[in-house]
């Protein structure tokens, strides 16, 4: 850790915070642009003007936009996420009850996907140009250019319909024993793993190939070092930074994938909560979920950038 790295890290963190503030502003502006307002929508067309005015007042919609914006930002910072418009429950409680499920899903996926992607990426970089490398390459291209729900539907067709190994839908309600946990998580985790692994394996492969084509590796080859020694001692340590960057960046694809996967498998997580919130136009809930997702995305992207800073040897040895 030296001064240059410290300064870079600090400026990266400041930029992330500013971006988060910008994102919050965009979310607020979009959800408050509508000419008609929430009170009218909630009460329906037949509501009396007095009732609408009353509700507007109790929701704070009669205040000027700037004042509402500042109040909203303040509440966000202090963790007060407001009340759901649909069932009048605090948004924080709704999210709290689902957050764990989503984190477990994302955690299990990361545990499965990261090692698999590393193995795929490293082996195909080492065996560059072979049939194995070309097959992995074609497979990963295919996965990133089709919609996530196609991957999920094919997984259900193969593993649940034809092979009958797992049930088609997740039901967290009745889970007893390790086998049941496996059955519930198998398909959602499989789908998510496919989606993020493809990206991660390709970036890992690229990073390692970059390291393998450097002159110190050529030197090691000329000195007669073994293939395993070259990859494990010379190339890999230098590729760790770019690979960490690839992992953090690919994990941010979890956020997009999780929305589709929780919906298709009926998994009671926070993405499903948000999609339901959008369908019922429950704006406070949608705002809170959007900030949560964008925040998580920013954290992962920032981590990826920080990994890239640490990976730069010119900065490390100054």
């Amino acid at each position: 850790m030296n001064q240059t790295i410290g300064r870079l890290l600090l400026s990266r963190l400041v930029i992330s915070l500013l971006t988060l503030w910008f994102v919050a502003t965009v979310v607020f502006v979009i959800t408050n642009l509508l000419p008609g307002d929430v009170a009218q929508t909630l009460l329906g067309q037949s509501a009396t003007p007095e009732a609408v005015a009353g509700l507007r007042k109790s929701l704070g919609l009669d205040l000027p936009p700037l004042q509402r914006y500042l109040a909203w930002l303040g509440n966000l910072v202090t963790g007060d996420l407001g009340q759901s418009l649909v069932n009048r429950q605090p948004v924080a409680a709704l999210i709290g009850s689902r957050l764990g499920n989503s984190l477990i899903l994302a955690g299990v996926t990361a545990l499965v996907a990261v090692p698999l992607a590393l193995i795929l990426g490293i082996t195909s970089a080492v065996a560059r140009g072979s049939l194995y490398d070309r097959t992995v390459g074609a497979g990963t291209i295919l996965v990133v250019s089709v919609p996530e729900f196609l991957v999920a539907s094919l997984a259900v067709l193969i593993f649940a319909v034809h092979l009958k190994w797992v049930p088609a839908l997740s039901q967290l309600g009745r889970v007893d024993g390790v086998l049941d946990v496996l059955r519930v998580f198998a398909l959602p985790v499989f789908t998510l793993t496919c989606v993020i692994m493809a990206q991660m394996a390709r970036m890992t492969r690229a990073a390692l190939i970059d390291a393998l084509s450097s002159s110190y590796v050529e030197m090691a080859v000329l000195k007669g070092a073994s293939r395993a020694r070259i990859v494990l001692y010379h190339a890999l340590p230098n590729a760790i930074g770019p690979i960490a960057n690839a992992i953090a960046f690919s994990l941010s694809f979890l956020l997009g994938g999780v929305i589709i996967v929780e919906t298709i498998f009926n998994y009671p997580g926070i993405a499903k909560l948000m999609v339901d919130g959008v369908a019922t136009r429950d704006l406070p809930l949608v705002q809170a979920c959007a900030m949560l997702f964008c925040g998580a995305y920013l954290v992962l992207v920032t981590l990826a950038d920080i990994a890239a800073i640490f990976a730069n040897p010119r900065l490390r040895h100054q």
């Binding site: 971006t19 910008f22 994102v23 965009v26 979310v27 979009i30 959800t31 408050n32 642009l33 509508l34 560059r128 140009g129 490398d133 070309r134 390459g137 074609a138 990963t140 291209i141 295919l142 990133v144 250019s145 089709v146 919609p147 996530e148 729900f149 196609l150 539907s153 094919l154 259900v156 067709l157 649940a160 319909v161 034809h162 088609a168 990206q199 390709r202 970036m203 690229a206 941010s252 956020l255 997009g256 929305i259 589709i260 919906t263 298709i264 999609v275 919130g277 959008v278 369908a279 136009r281 429950d282 704006l283 949608v286 705002q287 959007a290 997702f293 964008c294 995305y297 920013l298 992207v301």
Partner: protein, 290 residues
């Protein structure tokens, strides 16, 4: 960028997948791909008129029927002919995506050129703003807009157009700034040509290739995002149905292995993969693309 950023690499990967020894296989794939793209474009125009059955009429058939000679792609959850519904849906998926992509690449091109021509504060402010916009994941942006405005086709087109504008703007601006430093632009300026003339006649022709390739890639992203929104029930609303909605409405048939779920999803995949291969074929060595 939030959505699959290094798809630009696909050409290089494609080349490594099918090296010169397999030139035949590669050229076959590249020959078929434009035909598939053309087929879906034509279907978007004439699809609704050549369907074997009325796409909204309930046929004398079981629900989720398997593929047969009478119903080539089976039937859906109402017993409607699936092939007819997919052909009719092409208009929504391809049409909306095409208009949205035109909107985003068109305005990205305009803003990018304007930023590089005007420079200064305008350029700096616009670049910062659009860069920050990229930090919102595309699906999140779509969900928030639909929650606020409800879902209709104009809202969808506008939203998709805005989401993919910053990427195109960035590319156009960086090429324009580079080209503007070349000698022939200096000469044109010395001749006393106006900024508008230089943009239109000197700089624009030098970025047609990259912009067209970018158009294809944005089109793929837009199709995938539109399908995802429709799949969530937040895109094209019934009774109208694009391919994403077709997957959603028939999802109940998945446990029975109904073709009604898989076929529309495969239609989307055939379109996106074919567009990808077509770009690779047309702009084989895309060194110029940022």
């Amino acid at each position: 960028m939030s959505a699959a950023p290094d798809r630009d690499e696909s050409d290089a990967v494609l080349r490594s997948v099918m090296p010169t020894g397999r030139l035949k296989l590669r050229s076959v794939a590249r020959g078929i791909a434009p035909c598939i793209v053309l087929f879906w474009l034509v279907m978007a125009l004439i699809g609704p008129w050549i369907t074997p059955y009325d796409p909204s009429a309930i046929q004398d058939a079981d629900l989720f029927e398997a593929m047969s000679w009478k119903f080539l792609l089976g039937t859906d959850y109402f017993g409607r002919d699936m092939l007819s519904r997919i052909l009719a849906g092409a208009r929504y998926t391809v049409g909306i995506a095409l208009v949205a992509t035109l909107l985003s690449v068109g305005s990205g091109l305009l803003l990018g050129l304007a930023a590089s021509a005007i420079g200064g504060l305008f350029d700096a402010a616009l670049s910062r703003f659009l860069d920050a916009l990229i930090s919102i994941p595309s699906k999140m942006f779509g969900l928030v807009v639909v929650a606020a405005f409800g879902s209709s086709i104009p809202v969808l087109i506008l939203t998709l157009g805005i989401i993919y504008l910053p990427g195109c703007y960035r590319m156009v601006r960086s090429i324009a700034v580079n080209v503007a430093a070349l000698d022939f632009v200096t000469v044109a300026r010395a001749r006393g040509e106006g900024t508008f003339y230089i943009m239109l006649r000197e700089i624009l022709p030098n970025m047609i290739g990259p912009v067209l390739a970018d158009f294809g890639l944005r089109f793929i992203y837009v199709v995938l995002l539109l399908s995802s929104l429709s799949f969530l029930g937040l895109g094209v609303q019934p009774p109208e149905a694009d391919w994403g909605s077709l997957v959603r409405e028939n999802i109940g048939g998945l446990p029975y292995g109904a073709p009604a779920v898989i076929m529309p999803a495969l239609a989307i995949a055939s379109l996106t993969i074919a567009v990808n291969l077509t770009i690779d074929g047309l702009f084989g060595r895309r060194e110029g693309v940022a």
